[in-house]
Amino acid sequence: MTCDEAIKLMDGYLDGELDPIANQTIEQHLRECQKCDEAYKTHSALIRSIGKATPYYKAPSGLRERIQASLREEIAERSPRSVSRNIPSLFPSLIQSKQSERRAVLFGTQWNWLALAAAIVLAAIIAFNLAPRLRRPGADQFLATQLIASHVRSLMANHLTDVASSDQHTVKPWLDAKLDFAPVVVDLSSEGFPLVGGRLDYLDNRPVAALVYQRRKHFINLFVWPAESGSVSADKRITRQGYQLLHWVDSDFNYWAVSDVSDNDLQAFKQVFEKQLPRR
């Protein structure tokens, strides 16, 4: 090991983060080279001393209470929405009301109440189906902006991939280890969309997986994160600033493909991707 190499590894050695072989090599070098040994001793003493003396900013009193209050405010705001979330549990009462209808016919009473109940259930079902659609467009546009920005950034900053590999068995474990979910990774070389690698990204307030595929000279970023349970939505196509975005959802995941390839290419990409998914 040369002195230059030893100096490069010094911080890793100081932090105990080298593998055993590198550790041994640098230790041997420090035994043999007095200059490096002295440099290491000064450096480590200094770094330890600085580390200990660096001011630690504990949370001020009151911040904990502020946070707890804001969390309670958050669920208080949610509760009106939580009514519509409970709609599925209203269906049993619809069935029940049919039974009581029969009884009502038998006993010839309470028609008005049934009509009112049916109207409420109907209104709730309509609201339940419409509410997400009403909320969506703005949210989608915002997400689309984020997606395009992420796509452009990945191409510009020379940070297309964190793990560059066309082997799905390399990319998948890498991503699994870094995320709180395990995205499906498939190579689509045989279909004309070779896998280039994977990357961590941050979208919609959460870490997401970005799978990078190539189509001729163009790149496709496929962003993947877990779908909310029970969320069903039709495919979405958005064209913006010359980029194509294609969105779909399967039982487990949200997918957003972003690229400058044509809409047809992106549709084809989605089809071959779905075809290659392991059967579950």
């Binding site: 932090d15 200094l46 900013y57 904990r64 669920i75």
Partner: protein, 176 residues
């Protein structure tokens, strides 16, 4: 009933995440260099974390929370202080007149908290965060790579550059 379940959710969220409040605040404070901003960002980060808590299945709550704190901090930094981020990779910031300061002299002053604070605050945000995460939270390179969203191999070199820069700034302050 939903109300009660949500209150239980808040309870378990607080149980897992509130113990890391000091770590969250320390990171935000070093990144933002301002008490008020740090508190606002930490509060916002906790709210974001709560909203995506259902997606958290890991065991490392601190790293998960710090990732969100970091991202929230950068959102604010980018919005308010484009200037701050432009110096990030400017390795050529000129610091004159420190060549005469010996390592022994730096060591003598290395327990001077005020001096270290001033020198740290001069560093680019990438260096401030990596030093806080390693020196103060004692996080592993792997955890740091996840929080700072950089490849594991980059952590050691960035940490080395951050430390070298900090030493340089300390020396510059001593020779004044």
């Amino acid at each position: 009933m939903t109300q009660r379940r949500e209150q239980e959710d808040v309870g378990s969220f607080e149980e897992v995440m509130l113990p890391h409040l000091d770590a969250a605040h320390n990171l935000a404070r070093w990144l933002l260099r301002n008490d008020q901003d740090a508190q606002d960002v930490v509060q916002e980060a906790y709210l974001r974390a709560f909203k995506s808590f259902a997606g958290f299945h890991g065991s490392n709550g601190r790293a998960w929370l710090l990732t969100i704190v970091r991202n929230t901090s950068y959102t604010l930094l980018k919005k308010n202080r484009a200037v701050d981020l432009t110096t990030t990779f400017d390795e050529e910031i000129h610091v004159a007149g420190h060549e005469s300061v010996s390592p022994a002299t730096i060591l003598e002053h290395s327990e001077d908290a005020e001096l270290i604070k001033e020198a740290m605050d001069e560093l680019p945000s990438e260096f401030r965060e990596i030093l806080a995460l390693r020196h103060q939270e004692g996080l592993s390179y792997k955890e740091i790579s996840e929080i700072a969203q950089i490849p594991p191999g980059t952590v050691m070199s960035r940490l080395a550059r951050a430390r070298a820069k900090l030493k340089e700034y300390l020396a510059a302050r001593m020779s004044k």
